[in-house]
């Protein structure tokens, strides 16, 4: 048997592991990812599950590479079946090509036709038998050994990773796992394993999920109060933050609902403690009234929306970029605020931290649009960068006797007093007010405060982090948030194909940096706006500001499956 596999040098290796409840597809994926990390590689791992809460089928999708990767590839090189119950449900999520390899033990049953129809090469391996040779041995760990070997991961790294992931289950489990890995490794070496070894990066790297990275960004930004209500797929952020906030002297409050969360966050922030909440679409809808209050009363707050398929309850466990509109326009009245989106898993840390800093400085609401494909994907990545500017809240520690909380300043930021400050007493209000904060329905007060709240945001110098720019072709791909990984990769491949291309990945969505964007678009003749939703939300948003050239097209594809580079290339070449 000749197992031909792509190598890390030439690109990346993609593998899928599927199995039903308890078969350990997720554990296998986590171990492979961690082993790759320990071997000096980069990588990604996404997971998918059936509708059951527990015991249903599940799927791990991995992509391992010698350099950072930010999206899944078009196809999977390797499909490991731990069993095949209901695996057919995942067919759309595991595209194979004609030279993909399916590894499976014939003893566990037949491979569904849907996987073999495209001509993938099937190899039967005696996983079950090998597992049986080990006391307490499990099939998934044998498969890990084989797959690890095929990917060129050293056996000792697999063992180390297994130890790390399984140690909570006790030494017996670890021991059995290590023995199974060895069995699997041996099974692979009985066949022709490609001799190439991955190039090992010696740089410090992280193994982190997007949700964890959001949590870390929040802490780095100074957040010490979180109030939230659980919701898929944002809950992990909260579960990561809960214990850590306490350790840092802060607190996470599990609120009774999202209306409470956002108002608790406003209260804490009014008191001077940077505060944040995380939710998903349904919760974000419920928070709109609170967000409007934060904007009008000029209290900094940050909301992370880990978007899932919409509308309504939608598809809670799958990604979509369909909350851009509500993030931009969901508050009643004219309510200028900030909307940001991390470009990849690692960027979740940077963008969240930046959002906290910006909200604090600009005394407004910031919405961070992550989504399920970032939040619940685990990446082996370089550590996240830190925002350049050390922004902080503009306070007034010793207010004069005519102190005005909502003073009409040149930059629009009115220095605020924190409770406890002598002589700085004021009543924050969502009613329109004058500079002192006293309710007013006079046109002059309304216009001045509206102008001020817009000015502080529009006129602020956001520096260069508003977007990531690559290339300088006349053909341009514009993307935002989680669609950036696939778009960048499509760009690289097109470039390699000799097509001069430019990619603009927007991190700051509101305020739209129209001037900077126009500059970044200088010389561009044709634009594709790439995003994962149904109505082309970014496309329309950009058009509403008149920044796109005539020849601008929307490449909008809704969830549940994240965009792949090949689809983008297809659209650009033939669309």
């Amino acid at each position: 048997m000749n197992l031909e596999m792509p190598t890390m040098e030439t690109g990346s290796i993609s593998l899928a592991i599927t199995g039903s409840g308890g078969s350990g597809a997720v554990t296998a994926g986590l171990i492979l990812l961690e082993a790759a990390a320990k071997s000096g590689l980069y990588g990604l791992m996404m997971r998918s599950a059936g509708p059951q809460i527990r015991g249903g089928e599940s799927l791990s999708l991995l992509r391992l590479a010698g350099s950072p990767v930010a999206c899944m590839d078009d196809h999977f090189d390797l499909l490991l079946g731990l069993d095949w119950h209901n695996a057919g449900r995942f067919a759309q999520e595991i595209p194979l090509h004609a030279s993909s390899l399916i590894l499976s033990d014939p003893a566990i049953g037949a491979i569904p036709d849907t996987f073999t129809a495209g001509g993938a090469v099937v190899r039967g391996l005696t996983f079950k038998d090998r597992a049986a040779r080990v006391d307490g041995g499990r099939l998934n760990m044998v498969a890990v050994g084989t797959a690890g070997a095929l990917c060129g991961l050293p056996q000792d790294m697999l063992a180390l990773a297994a130890d790390e992931i399984l140690k909570a289950k006790g030494p017996g489990v670890v021991e059995a796992a290590t023995a199974c890995v060895a069995q699997g490794y041996a099974l692979a070496t009985e066949h022709d394993v490609p001799a190439t070894k991955p190039t090992h990066s010696t740089l410090a790297r992280w193994n982190i999920s997007g949700n964890e990275a959001c949590g870390l960004g929040a802490l780095r930004g100074g957040v010490r109060f979180v109030a939230a209500y659980p919701i898929t797929p944002a809950t992990d952020i909260l579960e990561w933050l809960g214990p850590r906030l306490e350790q840092l002297g802060g607190l996470l409050v599990q609120a009774e609902d999202e209306l409470a969360s956002i108002n608790m966050v406003i209260g804490a922030s009014y008191g001077g403690v940077p505060a944040l909440t995380a939710t998903s679409g349904p919760g974000l809808s419920l928070m709109q009234e609170g967000l409007g209050l934060a904007v009008a009363s000029e209290i900094p707050v940050v909301v992370i929306d880990v978007t899932r398929g919409g509308p309504s309850t939608g598809i809670p466990t799958k990604p979509e970029q369909s909350d851009l509109n509500v993030a931009l326009y969901g508050m009643h009245g004219d309510a200028p605020h900030l909307v940001l989106a991390p470009l990849d898993v690692r960027d979740c840390a940077f963008t969240t931290q930046w959002a906290v800093r910006l909200a604090e400085h600009l005394q407004t609401a910031a919405i961070v649009l992550s989504d399920q494909s970032l939040g619940q994907t685990r990446a082996v990545t370089d550590p996240a960068k830190l925002p350049g500017i050390p922004l902080q809240r503009v306070t007034e520690p010793s207010p004069a006797s005519d102190y005005r909380r909502y003073a009409l300043t040149a930059d629009g930021v009115s220095p605020m007093t924190l409770p406890g400050t002598k002589g700085g007493m004021y009543t924050a209000d969502g009613l329109e007010h004058d500079a002192f904060g006293i309710p007013s329905s006079l046109a002059a007060d309304h216009h001045q405060q509206l102008d001020k709240r817009r000015r502080k945001i529009e006129a602020f110098d956001f520096g260069s982090d508003w977007a990531e720019l690559r290339g300088d072709g006349k053909l341009c791909l514009i993307c935002w948030g989680s669609s950036s990984g696939a778009t960048f990769e499509a760009g690289e491949r097109l470039l390699a194909d000799g097509i001069a291309i430019r990619v603009i990945a927007l991190r700051l969505l509101a305020p739209l940096r129209s001037d900077a964007l126009a500059q970044a678009l200088a010389g561009v003749e044709k634009v594709w706006v790439v995003e994962q939703n149904h109505s082309g939300q970014l496309y329309h948003y950009l058009r509403s500001y008149g920044v796109l050239p005539e020849d601008a097209h929307s490449l909008a594809k809704p969830g549940p499956i994240p965009l792949r580079p090949g689809e983008i290339i297809e659209a650009v070449k033939h669309g």
Binding site: L219, A260, S261, V273
Partner: protein, 278 residues
């Protein structure tokens, strides 16, 4: 929170801001404002260490009339806002003020959960059994046959919301009832409520002279709450369910741990970041 008991430095009037109330002449809320400033003066709380949080309604306008920190937030959401503030700033004295519509209709869920939490807030609800600010609709405490609002032309037909009974069932550790026609009693209750460690709920009968002129009769209907407040919730439940809702005084007070319990600081951000290193 500790009240200092030396000679008062500030008078009640010093706690009034310069903002003129929008209330109708004769509105019960004036007396509540006066009682609050008197109790703050009595407890000698520095103005900058007091925060008054409210929702929306005539009653909810109160914070702007007090010279302290304040937040006139959203209809029904004063309690969560105050909860966030108090957790973030345990050093402050946080009072929450509002109306029966704000607190028991749109804000009912937060009322339940604030009572359960036993956070150290004082919640003053000015109950006039009507939506004053929106010009006279039935509130949860309105009698089912009150038919003066065209939104409910034959009355709501719905049983009255029983604030004290709900508060007790939800776990409130301090429950009292005041009446704006009894300013002294109200001031005493408020001072006790502010002193009470944990969540204190003060239900104030505060007539709306404009939309409920019939509430003039309250002065003949109020009476002391039967028997002394015990700290036995079972007995309190029996007494509250038997009361007509017009009994004034401290209805229930028990001592339970105040939320949240503080955990010790144990780590640094740098240590947390290390978790991710491979």
């Amino acid at each position: 929170m500790q009240a200092k008991m030396s000679t008062p430095a500030l008078q009640a009037r010093d706690y009034k801001s310069g903002v003129k109330p929008i209330w109708c002449p004769g509105c019960g809320h004036f007396a509540v404002l006066a009682a609050i400033t008197r109790s703050l003066a009595y407890l000698e709380l520095p103005r900058e260490e007091v925060a008054l949080i409210s929702g929306i309604g005539c009653s909810s306008r109160l914070p702007a009339y007090v010279d302290s920190y304040g937040f006139h937030g959203l209809h029904g959401r004063a309690l969560p806002l105050a909860t966030g503030l108090k957790v973030a700033r345990p050093d402050l004295n946080v009072l929450v003020t509002g109306g029966d519509g704000d607190g028991f209709s749109i804000g009912g869920n937060h009322f339940l959960h604030a009572c359960r939490r036993n956070i150290d807030l004082t919640y003053v609800v000015m109950d006039n059994r009507v939506y004053g600010m929106t010009k006279g609709q039935a509130s949860p405490t309105t009698a089912p046959d009150w038919a003066a609002s065209k939104m409910t032309p034959h009355g709501t037909g719905v049983r009255r919301f029983q604030p004290a009974a709900i508060a007790l069932a939800a776990g409130a550790t301090f429950i009292a009832r005041g009446y704006s026609g009894d300013p002294k009693g109200m001031t005493r209750i408020l001072a006790e409520a502010i002193r009470h460690p944990g969540f204190s709920f003060v239900h104030v009968l505060s007539p709306c002279v404009t939309f409920r002129p019939d509430q003039r009769s309250w002065k003949t209907e109020v009476h002391p709450f039967p028997a002394d407040a015990g700290n036995d919730p079972v007995e309190a439940a029996r007494r509250i369910h038997a009361d007509d809702g017009m009994g004034l005084g401290i209805i229930h007070a028990e001592s339970l741990p105040v939320w949240p319990a503080r955990q010790e600081t144990e780590t640094t951000l740098a240590a947390i970041e290390k978790e991710f290193l491979v």
